[in-house]
């Protein structure tokens, strides 16, 4: 009898505490959102701001926070939650094996997409956009995921690639296929040029410097009017040709040579395959490089820079190659972007773009190739299908970045498998790190005792 009443008292107490905490959360939420969500400012007819209330929106948000906090307190309470509580570890282990098949399936889908949905121009354009970001993500993955250097100005190299092609085509008349390698070389040259002085810096300083470089390049593109036409951008960037055969309705064009009826879709499909091949090349090079000494040096660098230096690895050169390699792929992607759009302006190369690519890499899991591809497809594709929520895109990306860092810092789908290992290949996950830490700690304590 007494046991029962104790239990019910405890439950009652838990209920009251949860209610109290949820009320506190709601109060904080009210403080946070009262002015910014509760009151709307619009520009009135005289140009001055006019206020209007938005109490229902405020009430909904605060109510949601209250309900969320209450449920969270009741269900979870003080305990911390781990992913393994929801997903059994065995399933996570199997997910790795599954990852391979998913990768192959995705590849197959990507190859077949233009054949199956040949007439769906919208879908093809979306596919091209996603593949461009997949390629950028894979390129940035070399820098961030493998070498562990946080590059916040990645879009600068994308811009270098795009402008290299546009300017070379405009001023000298070079074709896309000639400019593609040139753009990559120029971008990686810039990567080396910018990287050389700054790569001695520590992780977060490096990140800020790359951010500054990215902004400097964009501001120069805006202000160097005589070369870049400033904010107006460059129009009429030439389209690519198929081994010298242009995609138009003239004699000697692609359609005529192959006896096909001319269709604007030929070019789109061609562009789709170009970016698919470029992205796959990026992936292949990354996978191969990981097995070379330089790739191993990158991974070692990511784990511990000081240990790396103690073992005789030239950290500056190692960082520089990662930086240049990442920049090169951004350069390729940039010149592809220029030829696809036919128009480029500094608007396309803002910090938001860098942040978007970084978010894709972070969500996919730094160092995981398949993860980056899935993240790009899900996030960008998802928002294309829910057009009405497009304005929430970056908000969701930002929230996802924070959440991923807290719950699953190695990425949503990714597990970080080391390329070299002792005895048994196993993932470096939070659990392993924790175990290793407690082990060394208890060992240390034992020694001191």
């Amino acid at each position: 009898m007494s046991v029962l009443s104790d239990q019910s008292t405890a439950r009652c107490l838990g209920f009251v505490t949860a209610l109290k905490r949820a009320l506190l959360s709601a109060l904080i939420a009210f403080g946070l959102f009262s002015l910014l969500i509760g009151i709307r400012t619009d520009t009135g007819p005289t140009g001055a701001l006019v206020l209007s209330g938005r109490p229902e929106a405020l009430a909904i948000i605060v109510g949601l926070v209250f309900a969320g906090a209450f449920v969270r307190e009741l269900v979870i309470g003080e305990r911390s939650i781990a992913l393994t509580q929801f997903v059994p570890p065995a399933l996570l282990a199997r997910a790795q094996v599954l990852g391979k098949f998913v990768g192959l399936a995705l590849l197959g889908f990507a190859i077949l997409l233009p054949i199956v949905f040949y007439h769906d121009r919208y879908l093809l354009d979306l596919g091209i956009m996603i593949l461009t970001y997949v390629m950028l993500g894979w390129g940035l993955n070399i820098v961030v995921g493998l070498a562990g250097l946080l590059d916040l100005g990645y879009v600068a190299f994308y811009a270098v690639g795009a402008y290299s092609y546009a300017l070379l085509a405009e001023n000298i008349g070079f074709s896309f296929w000639l400019c593609l390698p040139l753009a990559g070389i120029l971008a990686s040259f810039w990567g080396i040029l910018l990287g050389f002085p700054v790569l001695r810096l520590r992780g977060d300083y490096l990140a800020i410097v790359t951010l500054a470089f990215g902004e400097i390049i964009r501001l120069v593109l805006i202000n160097w009017q005589s070369l870049t036409h400033g904010p107006d951008g460059i129009t009429g960037v030439p389209r690519p040709s198929f081994f010298g055969l242009p995609f138009n309705n003239d004699d000697g064009s692609f359609a005529h040579t192959f006896g096909l009826e001319w269709s604007p879709l030929h070019r789109i499909v061609f562009l789709y395959y170009v970016i698919l091949v470029l992205a796959l090349v990026t992936n292949l090079v990354t996978i191969r490089l990981r097995r070379l000494p330089i790739g191993r040096a990158w991974e070692a660098l990511r784990e511990d820079e000081i240990a790396c230096r103690s073992l005789g690895i030239n950290t500056t050169n190692t960082k520089l190659t990662a930086f240049a390699m990442g920049a090169m792929f951004a350069g390729f992607a940039g010149s592809f972007f220029a030829t696809r759009q036919g128009f480029i302006s500094p608007e396309s190369f803002t910090f938001t773009e860098s942040a978007l690519v970084l978010a894709i890499v972070v969500l996919g899991g730094m160092g995981s190739q398949i993860g980056v591809a899935v993240a790009a497809a899900v996030m960008l594709g998802g928002f294309e299908f829910f057009r009405e929520f497009a304005q929430f895109r970056m908000l969701v990306f930002g929230l996802a970045m924070v959440t991923i860092m807290i719950w699953r810092p190695r990425g949503l789908v990714a597990t970080r498998t080391p390329s070299i290992f002792l005895r048994q290949r196993r993932d470096i996950d939070a659990e392993l790190v924790r175990r290793a830490r407690t082990k060394t700690w208890s060992w240390r304590r034992a020694r001191h005792d």
Partner: protein, 304 residues
């Protein structure tokens, strides 16, 4: 010479605003060694809070400008502190023991969130505020180029100086300040000696946000327009100021802020307005490469 003198006044005003923001960066970096990338956006949020609070006060009949401004300052400081606290609590605190880059990535995420949140709830257009504090003094009555000191500029500089004095007192003389200095020297040791580290870090974020809120209001009064993007540029410049002065050093942040304000103004006045942001970013790069410990900072020892 008059032209130079005028630019000096403008530069000091701008520098005060940067200095106030820079303190938030330098304190957080000093204590937990992370770059609070979202701090610039906290500044931006505070400017919006101030603007809306002011308009709301006018709407309910508080029309006396000094009283309204005082209330706006209090409201903005309180609510911005709440933002600072919330950001620390949800986005940074769980990451204390995570890997090296995790807090920075989380901070970038938070910065994106704040920017887009304000853009969604308040719109992307610039928000104007009519000049509230008109008038000023003409210091040099040269007909070709009169040197002017506006009342807003006086308010900005005086407020900054007063806040700096209060803040220095807080760090040097109070219990909280002592805890903060202890945490800055050695987080683990401080916690072993009974300093509530989590609470001290929370207060650090709250104080940083409150100072950023003052900077936000000053920005609003000085320029009269704000948009959701002001936090990014101002944040990078204030961070540059913190690094230039020596990150982790409080007088350094103030000095760095003044220097950045002056350099930016002089650059715009004598070289080119278009490249003023390039100048600020270049200084950041140059300082980080050649003088990473800043003017007043200590060189950092790399620990294994």
């Amino acid at each position: 010479m008059d032209y130079f003198f005028q630019q000096l006044i403008n530069g000091v005003t701008l520098g005060s605003i940067y200095g106030l923001i820079a303190i938030g960066y330098t304190m957080v970096y000093g204590i937990i060694g992370m770059i609070n990338f979202a701090h610039g956006d906290i500044f931006m949020v505070s400017a919006f809070l101030g603007l809306i609070a002011f308009l709301a006060l006018v709407a309910i009949g508080v029309t006396a400008v000094p009283l309204a401004l005082f209330l706006v300052l209090l409201i903005a400081m309180a609510l911005t502190s709440l933002y600072g606290w919330t950001v620390e609590h949800f986005a940074y605190r769980p990451l204390r023991r995570s890997f090296r880059l995790a807090p920075l990535i989380s901070a970038i995420g938070m910065s994106i969130v704040l920017q887009n949140y304000v853009q969604i709830v308040q719109g992307a257009r610039v928000k104007p505020l009519p000049p509230l504090i008109p008038g000023g003094f003409t210091l040099v009555d040269d007909p070709s180029f009169p040197v002017q000191l506006s009342n807003v500029q006086i308010l900005v500089v005086v407020t900054t100086v007063v806040l700096m004095a209060i803040f220095s007192w807080l760090v040097a003389r109070t219990r909280l300040g002592r805890d903060m200095r202890a945490c800055e020297q050695d987080l683990k040791m401080a916690s072993l000696l009974g300093v509530n580290v989590d609470r001290t870090i929370s207060y650090t974020f709250v104080i940083g946000a409150a100072l950023a809120a003052v900077a936000g209001i000053m920005h609003l009064l000085y320029y009269g327009v704000i948009d959701f993007y002001i936090g990014f540029i101002a944040g990078v410049k204030a961070f540059t100021a913190a690094v230039l002065g020596g990150i982790g050093s409080l007088p350094g942040a103030m000095l760095g802020g003044l220097l950045i304000g002056l350099i930016e103004t002089m650059w715009s006045a004598y070289f080119s307005v278009e490249y003023k942001d390039v100048a600020a970013f270049s200084i950041l790069v140059i300082v980080l490469i050649f003088l990473p410990s800043g003017i007043l900072g200590r060189p950092e020892v790399e620990k294994v």
